[in-house]
């Protein structure tokens, strides 16, 4: 029944914070207790998450056929699972099958996320056995200029949202003559609907270290800073531990891997300011100042951290670099469409049945992601909209779900692909409330440096309230249009400049919601078992602890 007679069975339980948020530690603890009691021989390994987050905690057991998955598992399930023959991959209602063959995963092209969920994130042996360091070794055999050329050739674009070609940025830094240069990784992943940076830091931290080290070689930088938001304590702890291990192994420090390269890396923790995801605010924050936006030019590549030439890239950009160097620019470039080359890591979140990480070539449609991968809404109600690209991205109606996911196609449709975060809403969403929230969020998180953003967002909330209340509606709609123009053209950075995008998309695609608000009580529940209260930011909160939402 069990294989306790021979060597211990290897059982993977994710240490990813999303998996922990639904009980992975308790599951690992229950397995550990069974092993301690001597009932079963189990070697529990804490891996990253495979990104099938609706199945978390997902337990995998190593069998001769491959890794067999079970999920979602609770601590209470563990004894029953063990008795049923978990360690031999035996049948059970929670058995999912061979993990690598699960269609959700098998259809993807995992490039950046190839190791996440597969390995023990802090095992250097796992890392090297699964292809780690190949990119850095290749880079160290090349001149800096050749590394930059390779990255440029690959077509890799910044994954943080703006999509600026990474190689061009690097080339500017390489061309600066300064003695002191920096590589900064922006891990201030503050946008709702994005969690890929967090997952790769928690699930494959050496990859980010390798990517930053390649960048340092390419541009001639000796010092690196990794700015992680404080809301990610697990990612901070994992990266700090990985950096220590990397130093011990000569992967960081002086003479990296026996080469002439000296590079060291420091983790800096943010302090709860959304705006510090904007690169110049992040640099101010790293310098110990208020996270206010700098005017550009000068660009950070020429005058960045402490006035020195600085590469600033997002986590996913830097974690893709080792793959480009290991496999060659051509292999990466062969993936994708148009000027959007390679893969994108889409993140499915919000009201979605099967949320998680979908890494695939650019060009997939939003409908394929939301319906085929995502399985529609979690509540079972009809889909109404998806917000793509974070809080500053557009709300798209289902009629536009056939749009291919590439930077240019989205820009043409008045939307932005951004970092590939997709937040799904069902038909109970009040789009006037979402538009209002976009302005409210901007007012809350604006750094305050420029007037269009600081004051415009406050006025935006007021004007939307008037429109919904029916006060001089036409005049106020015109005023809102004007305000959106002003914020778009007059703001110093993308915070104020893009806040009009969700507002305008809500107005364009869902105008009826602004006619006095939606008749919330008209919406009938589809599934009585899982009712969800409509978002009603602009309206009085239902004063009742009883679930009465969605019913008349």
């Amino acid at each position: 029944m069990n294989n306790s007679s021979h060597t211990a069975a290897t059982v993977y339980v994710p240490r990813d914070s999303a998996a922990r948020s639904v009980g992975a530690d308790e599951v690992a603890g229950a397995l550990q207790r069974a092993a301690t009691r001597g009932d079963f021989a189990i070697d529990v390994v804490r891996n990253g998450s495979r990104g099938m987050l609706w199945l978390e905690p997902m337990v995998e057991v190593v069998t001769p056929q491959g890794r067999v998955g079970y999920g979602p598992v609770t601590a209470e399930d563990v004894d029953g699972l063990l008795a049923a023959g978990l360690l031999d991959g035996a049948d059970h209602p929670l058995r999912l099958g061979l993990v690598d063959e699960l269609p959700w995963l098998a259809r993807q092209t995992r490039v950046t996320f190839a190791r996440v969920g597969v390995t023990d994130p802090l095992s250097t042996r796992d890392y090297v056995e699964h292809g780690g360091l190949a990119g850095l070794r290749a880079a160290l055999d090349m001149t800096p200029a050749d590394v930059v050329a390779e990255v440029t050739e690959s077509g890799l674009r910044g994954r943080g949202g703006a999509g600026f070609p990474a190689g061009i940025k690097w080339n500017t830094v390489l061309g600066c003559a300064d003695e002191l240069k920096f590589v900064c990784c922006n891990a201030d992943e503050g946008d709702s609907g994005t969690f890929a940076d967090r997952m790769v830091m928690e699930g494959d931290p050496f990859l980010l270290i390798e990517g930053m080290t390649i960048a340092s070689h390419a541009v001639g930088a000796s010092e690196g800073y990794l700015y992680i938001r404080s809301e990610y304590p697990d990612a901070i702890a994992t990266m700090r531990e990985a950096i220590e291990i990397a130093r011990e192994h000569g992967w960081l420090g002086k003479g990296i891997l026996g080469s002439a390269l000296d590079f060291d890396l420091h983790v800096r923790v943010g302090a709860g300011a959304y705006i510090c995801g904007e690169e110049t605010s992040m640099l101010e924050s790293l310098e110990g100042k208020r996270g206010t936006v700098r005017a550009k030019p000068p660009i950070p590549a020429i005058e960045g951290l402490f006035g020195k030439p600085t590469v600033v890239n997002n986590v996913l950009t830097l974690t893709t670099v080792p793959v480009v160097l290991a496999k060659g620019a051509k292999a990466y470039q062969d993936l994708g469409v148009g000027r959007s080359r390679g893969t994108q890591v889409f993140q499915l979140g919000g009201n979605i049945a099967r949320g998680g990480i979908v890494e695939t070539a650019f060009g997939i449609t939003l409908r394929e992601l939301v319906e085929d991968y995502g399985g529609g809404t979690r509540t079972g109600r009809p889909l109404r909209t998806a917000q793509v690209g974070g809080p500053l991205g557009a709300y798209l109606p289902t009629s536009m779900f056939d749009l291919p996911m590439d930077y240019e196609a989205f820009a043409e449709a008045g939307a932005m692909l951004g970092h590939g975060g997709i937040v799904v809403f069902d038909d109970s969403v009040d789009m006037a409330a979402q538009a209002r929230f976009a302005m409210e969020f901007c007012a809350e998180e604006s750094c305050g440096k420029c007037t269009p953003c600081r004051v415009g967002s406050v006025r935006g909330v007021e004007v939307i309230d008037k429109i919904v209340a029916g006060t001089h509606r036409d005049e106020n709609l015109a005023l809102l249009e004007d305000l959106c123009d002003l914020m778009t053209d007059g703001s110093l950075c993308a915070m104020g400049g893009l806040t009009p995008m969700p507002v305008r998309s809500a107005l364009t695609h869902f105008p009826d919601d602004f006619l006095g608000g939606r008749r919330l009580l008209d919406i009938q529940p589809v599934q009585a078992s899982r009712p969800i209260q409509p978002v009603q930011v602009s309206q009085p909160v239902q004063a009742s602890g009883v679930r009465t939402e969605g019913t008349a």
Binding site: E26, S230, A271, E444
Partner: protein, 167 residues
């Protein structure tokens, strides 16, 4: 952490923390995090000491302390609960949790009168596929309904209410 004994004054803590970070570039944020980790908040008395140690104006230090949401000017309650109110959690009824907290007599951003709990809003905890998300005393919880939130606010997070987490 509470301060006990005369030698553990705010000033001595701040000077020691600054000394520990002396070799770091632009060290003010790491210093403030460390001060808050030791004292539970960044007290007003810390500001002139920081200004003196780091050769900054008091206005500069004050500006930084007040710019960032993380730095507290007052100690928090024994339990700190942060409710995510960003879009992905909104789509799954995060506002229901906010209403629940309000109906329990708590105000977002404030500490209860008995000092037991501080409840705050936060915009995104990076758990967008398993919302609504709540963080309690540094630990992340997913798929949180009002019942689970209630046990978190009471400081009894391991109460099994929906079967997802047990002791």
């Amino acid at each position: 952490m509470t301060i006990s004994g005369s030698d553990m004054s705010v000033e001595s803590v701040v000077r020691r923390v600054v000394a520990d970070h002396r070799d770091q570039r632009g060290a003010l944020l790491p210093v403030l995090h460390a001060v808050q980790a030791e004292l539970g908040h960044v007290p007003q008395e810390a500001i002139p000491v920081l200004a003196d140690e780091l050769n900054l104006s008091r206005a500069d230090v004050h500006g930084v302390v007040t710019f960032y949401h993380d730095f507290r000017r007052e100690p928090a309650g024994r339990t700190t609960v942060r409710i995510c109110r960003a879009e992905a959690c909104q789509a799954l009824g995060a506002d229901r949790l906010v209403s629940y907290a309000r109906e329990s007599g708590l105000t977002l951003g404030e500490t209860s009168a008995d000092g037991s709990v501080t409840v705050e809003q936060v915009f995104c905890l990076g758990n967008c596929a398993l919302g609504p998300a709540v963080e309690a005393n540094g630990r992340l919880y997913g798929r949180v309904g009002p019942a689970r939130l209630g046990s978190l606010l009471n400081g009894t997070p391991n109460e099994t209410l929906d079967g997802t987490v047990s002791a």
